[in-house]
């Protein structure tokens, strides 16, 4: 009986995780610069990822930001549908996180 119990214990002995019940990733606020198109950009970009992911690309050219936005639409299927919406986001990014260069 004892043997059987021991065998059963070994068979079903569970793996123990170091962290019980999982984790919670904290929310960190990455403030956006005030500017024309901020609310629209927030809605379009921050739905999928933190603003930190955007602003920590560094200060970039207009061409860079346009290519990034297009990558988000084409590769990652971001729901930015109209040319007007694209321009709003690109202009906000360039005006507030631009390096002054168009290309």
């Amino acid at each position: 009986m004892k043997k059987l119990l021991l065998a059963t214990l070994i068979l079903v002995s569970p793996l123990f995780a170091q962290v019980e019940g999982g984790i919670t990733v904290p929310y960190i606020d990455f403030p956006m610069k005030e500017g024309k198109g901020m609310y629209s950009t927030r809605g379009k970009c921050n739905m999928c990822h933190s603003w930190g992911y955007t602003l920590n690309q560094g200060l970039q050219s207009k061409k860079f930001w346009r290519e990034k936005v297009m990558k988000m639409i084409v590769v990652f299927k971001a729901p930015i549908k109209t040319q007007k919406d694209i321009d709003t986001v690109v202009n906000y990014l360039f005006e507030n996180y631009g390096n002054g260069e168009l290309e």
Binding site: A17, Q18, G22, P26, S50, G52, Q57
Partner: protein
């Protein structure tokens, strides 16, 4: 630009992240940004780290970590591509699927991995290809990492080869694709899938469930991740749950577009003239970094200062590390540890000297590997659009008082 001026231009923004310098003219490569502070908010299983994003988590280790040959799990950097990461995984129900061009599609539980396969331990450096990206001018695309998007751990797990063998790869199989449990917000968005050509499969590639003697932290890929020693970490898939063998290469953004450099001798290009033919970043360049002292440390005149750091390369092994205290004219050999952690691990080094006179004192370190490759000066590193593979001679400036 003077290094001190460069520091002044680094902007620290609220939320503890930072943006790069605004230098836009095509310029010499500089030292990466080095003065960012850790966040006041700690992520799960981590001490506070330099925080670039919470969704997905992007966390950088501070320079002080690099005095030690193994990076503690709670100080280890974090980089995910997809923002939706499971916040709970049950180790008793978790399994990895092997499918595609295999004799038998299988699911292997964590317990089976730990009991039915040969268990191996291997110490290896995990480094983001874009580590030190802030060195590149003009600003290269991607997260503007400083010096700490890397770490070294002792990984425990099983050979990928052994797990694939259990499923039995078919003769037609040429590629294996890896996918983890992280997901995008939109279901239409493709997963972060990476591929390995089967001819590159070797005995050192592991499916690891342990890091420095503990479970992997969730943010480093609990409960299972891929370890591919010697290469940058773009294919070290975290929370890996699926492996698919295929004949044809899949068309994947993260393989075809991201993590690629110019396919030429210098692996370089200019912003005006981007090179069309590219190749994966792959093998890590020889590199070294000073963990102590850091820039701004005050040291006493004529007191014994022990410089500590780590060096590594893509697996050929470190031959020597040298230290210069005169701006790179005279180099003295540092003392290396015994190298017993293996060719993919950090080699810890120390170098003692007595600072003379008061004022600023620069300390540089430079590693040379067994192939004779040595680190260049930062200014001699040429630009690439992704800001990959920086390995400039490291430098800190202390104040002698």
């Amino acid at each position: 630009m003077e290094r001190r001026d460069f520091f002044k231009k680094a902007i620290v923004v609220a939320g503890s992240a930072a943006v790069g310098s605004s230098t836009i003219e095509a310029a010499e490569t500089v030292h990466p940004i080095d003065n960012r502070k850790v966040s006041d908010i700690a992520f799960p299983e981590k001490r506070p780290l330099i925080t670039y994003s919470d969704r997905p988590p992007l966390l950088e280790s501070p320079r002080e970590v690099f005095t030690s040959a193994l990076t503690p799990n709670d100080l280890f950097f974090v980089r995910w591509h997809m923002p939706m990461i499971p916040n709970y995984i049950n180790p008793n129900t978790f399994f990895i699927s092997i499918n595609g061009l295999v004799e038998k599609e299988i699911k292997v539980s964590l317990k089976e991995l730990k009991t039915e396969f040969k268990q191996l331990e291997l110490t290896a450096v995990l480094q983001c290809g874009g580590n030190n990206r802030t060195a590149f001018k003009p600003t290269a695309g991607g997260i503007q990492w400083g010096v700490g998007a890397m770490g070294c751990a002792k990984w425990k797990g099983v050979r990928l080869k052994d797990v694939l063998k259990k499923a039995g790869l078919k003769k037609e199989a040429v590629w294996i694709g890896f996918n983890g449990e992280d997901k995008a917000v939109y279901s239409e968005t493709a997963n972060f899938v990476r591929e390995l050509k089967l001819e590159h499969l070797n005995d050192d590639i592991l499916l690891a469930y342990e890091m420095n003697g503990e479970d992997l932290p969730y943010l480093n890929g609990y409960p299972l991740r891929l370890i591919i020693p010697g290469v940058y970490s773009d294919s070290w898939i975290k929370m890996i749950s699926n492996i698919t063998a295929t004949k044809e290469k899949q068309q994947l953004h993260f393989m075809e577009k991201a993590y690629r450099i110019p396919d030429n001798e210098c692996e370089c290009e200019t912003p005006e003239n981007l090179v069309k033919k590219t190749k994966p970043i792959e093998e890590m360049n020889v590199n070294s970094i000073i963990g102590y002292p850091v820039t701004g440390t005050k040291v006493k005149n004529d007191s014994s200062l022990v410089v500590r750091g780590v060096a590594f390369d893509g697996g050929h092994g470190i031959k020597k590390v040298q230290v210069s205290i005169d701006g790179g004219n005279i180099w003295e050999d540092a003392q290396l540890d015994d190298g017993s952690a293996g060719k993919y691990a950090y080699r810890a080094f120390t170098h003692a000297f007595k600072p003379k006179n008061s004022g600023k004192q620069t300390i540089m370190c430079k590693a040379t590997n067994e192939k004779g490759k040595e680190q260049p000066f930062a200014k001699d590193i040429q630009w690439n659009h992704g800001g990959y593979k920086y390995n400039g001679i490291d430098e800190v400036t202390v104040e002698v008082v």
